[in-house]
Amino acid sequence: MNFAEIELDDDTLKFWDDAREFFCEHVTQEVLDEERRNGGGFSESLHLALGRRGWVAPQWPVEDGGAGLDAMHARIIAMELSRSGAPAILASTTLLPPVAIRMFASPEVQGEVLPGVADGTVRICLGYTEPDCGSDLAAVRTRALPDGDEWIINGQKMFTTGAQFSQYCFLLARTDPDAPKHKGLTVFLLPLDRVGVDIRPIETLGGERTNFVYLQDVRLDDRWRLGAVNDGWNVVSVPLSREHGIGDDEVDELLGGPYLAQCEQLLADFVRWMSDDPSTSFADDPSLRERFAELIVDVEFTRSAAGPAGRILSSELLMRTASRLCDIIGPRALLARGVDGSAADGAFEAGFRFAPGTAIYGGSTDIARNVIAERFLGLPRSTPRRNAP
């Protein structure tokens, strides 16, 4: 057990200082405003700047276009990125498929795609979910039919976040409709500039924009197939387990869960608002102090969570925190950004809308509960096992 401060040498401190300066320079007010307006989850100028430094994939070796950084330096970049408030959803999904691309794609395809991922010119969105299947991914209906050396793809994907800024979609499609559900799937890396690909926006409660991706008679060379035909379930498993926070080597990064930082941000907004607001006195109001402390205790508790538990707890903490802060502040918390008298310039109004989505995307909290029930508590499986022999 050890929670000691890590002694940072001068080079590391300089690196940190440099990283902070980098984000100050590239995460401009304009970048933040653009994200608030359109919620794309991506800034191309920032992403390309990251790529020039090898910071899109900071832990990849330098010869692969990364920065060859160790985990600690990568953590510093991640912390500064988070601190800057920059949109980063697509930057994080882009890094999931390369694991599978390295394992399953031909050297040519790897050479065509991966350097671009590293330098920021290539972004990859995740084509898993469809209108009729979300958590139950094996129910995918988008169809890929062989045609000589090509495939013809028809169907539609949904919640394909970042597709409008992406060059590729990591696509899960059905290649054998007669096989048991998990066994008739194949993964393709679909270049999004193909004829027949149509990207349409979906607006969300949290202000993020995501997409429908309609696929109509899209022709794709077989070289874009990843892994064997009908072996797609294994191919997606690698990035999926990462997305769900249950990979073996990811534990440290997920301490406290993915949404803890956003809770801390809301709390900081609250503290700043309280300190500046002459009509409320923290010192004179014991009930206010108690309610504030409930949130602090909740945050420390959640900070201690690990793995899939952190994913659940941090998402629920965010919902609870946003709601309670609105309650404490009152009507001014409801006012939107830019409105006269809005508390913390609309941060609580936005936070309240944003929070529920975190319990759904990237695998819902209920799926995480199923995983914990089966793997950690040893309870019997709750969902039907379709591939039972």
């Binding site: 057990m1 000691a4 402390a293 205790v297 659940i312 707890l313 209920d366 509960r369 029930a373």
Partner: protein, 341 residues
């Protein structure tokens, strides 16, 4: 935090020595404290034979610093012991006795009381809160009480008053604290209280874990509608939430314990937060276990109720939740302000 160039390790693993302490006490409580003993010791919540056994294991000496001849166990180790005691709802005032003995080792190292504690198994305890007359944890079995009074830490001795029967079957009693000897300043009591908060939190984690285990076991064994009930998400998910809560509370206790050992000046609100979080998590685990067991869970035959009652009872003896929360607010507001900028 975000403003500084500072990184901390986040290593929650136990070293072999810590694991050995945990394993050894787990085996000991497993062997010596069955739920039959827990029930037999009610309503007082004290079993003399168990206390004698713990004395033979030199529990108090283990917790005392080396400069008074103890083993100087760290807080992580003590938290592990308290958790194992909680896991078996052990009817023995381990947390109070350990914390009071450690306080005496600091404030009255050559006093008669400390040697009676070590030699004769006398129990000393501590009184949280304010006022002349207080509800004292382990007060019904203790012959000495340490308390904060005004600007002082005082020591009151006397025969234990009668049990004040209570929800958690803890040996609570009302003590009159007006007639004490000053043995330290009020500030000295801060550390006493912090240690007590932390170890009580650890005991609550143990209670909660026992409740989770009881619930999970039942969900695997009991069938309804032709399937083990654990296959129903309405049963499984609350157990998952209970288990997540206990795991996180445990890790919070460990982190707070590590800071008590290594950076006591930086503990801040961690110990009291650990108590608030662990008490709540343990209570939720108890409720989940009872509900999982359905009608059986509501009978006195079920062990789940043993843990459920103690989860509330042990956590709340520390003082009302509101007072503890105000303490958290006072300890954190300035830091949060600095962070918020």
């Amino acid at each position: 935090m975000a403003g500084e160039f500072q990184l901390r390790r986040e290593d929650y693993s136990l070293d072999p020595e810590q694991s050995a302490v945990s394993d050894s006490f787990r085996a000991y409580f497993e062997k010596s404290v069955g739920t039959a003993l827990v029930r037999k010791a009610e309503p007082l919540g004290f079993d003399q034979a168990l206390w004698n056994g713990l004395r033979e294991r030199e529990l108090i000496a283990m917790a005392l610093p080396t400069d008074v001849g103890g083993d100087g166990a760290g807080f992580v180790e003590l938290a592990l012991v308290a958790e194992e005691a909680g896991r078996h709802a052990a009817p023995a005032p381990i947390v109070e006795a350990v914390v009071a003995a450690r306080a005496l080792a600091r404030l009255q190292p050559s006093g008669q009381l400390l040697s009676s504690i070590r030699g004769e198994g006398v129990i000393a305890t501590i009184a949280p809160g304010l006022g002349d007359r207080r509800l004292v944890p382990a007060g019904a079995v203790a012959e000495a009480v340490l308390a904060r009074r005004g600007d002082d830490t005082v020591l009151i001795t006397g025969p234990p008053p009668p049990l004040a029967a209570n929800l958690g079957c803890a040996p609570l009693a009302w003590w009159d604290l007006t007639d004490g000897t000053v043995i330290g300043t009020a500030d000295d009591f801060d550390q006493v209280e912090r240690e007590w908060h932390l170890l009580t939190a650890a005991a609550c984690v143990g209670l909660g874990q026992a409740a989770v285990d009881a619930g999970v076991r039942y969900a695997k064994e009991r069938s309804a509608f032709g399937t083990p009930i654990g296959a129903f998400q309405a049963i499984a998910h609350p157990l998952v939430d209970a288990s997540n809560g206990i795991d996180s509370a445990r890790r919070l206790v460990w982190r707070a314990a590590w800071f008590c050992d290594h950076e006591p000046h930086a503990v801040g609100a961690l110990a009291v937060s650990a108590l608030l979080a662990a008490g709540r998590a343990a209570e939720a685990a108890g409720a989940a276990a009872i509900h999982t067991q359905g009608g059986f869970g509501f009978t006195l035959e079920s062990d789940a109720q043993l843990f459920y009652r103690r989860a509330k009872g042990w956590a709340l003896v520390a003082g009302d939740r509101r007072a503890l929360l105000r303490q958290v607010a006072e300890l954190t507001w300035q830091t949060e302000r600095a962070v918020a900028g």
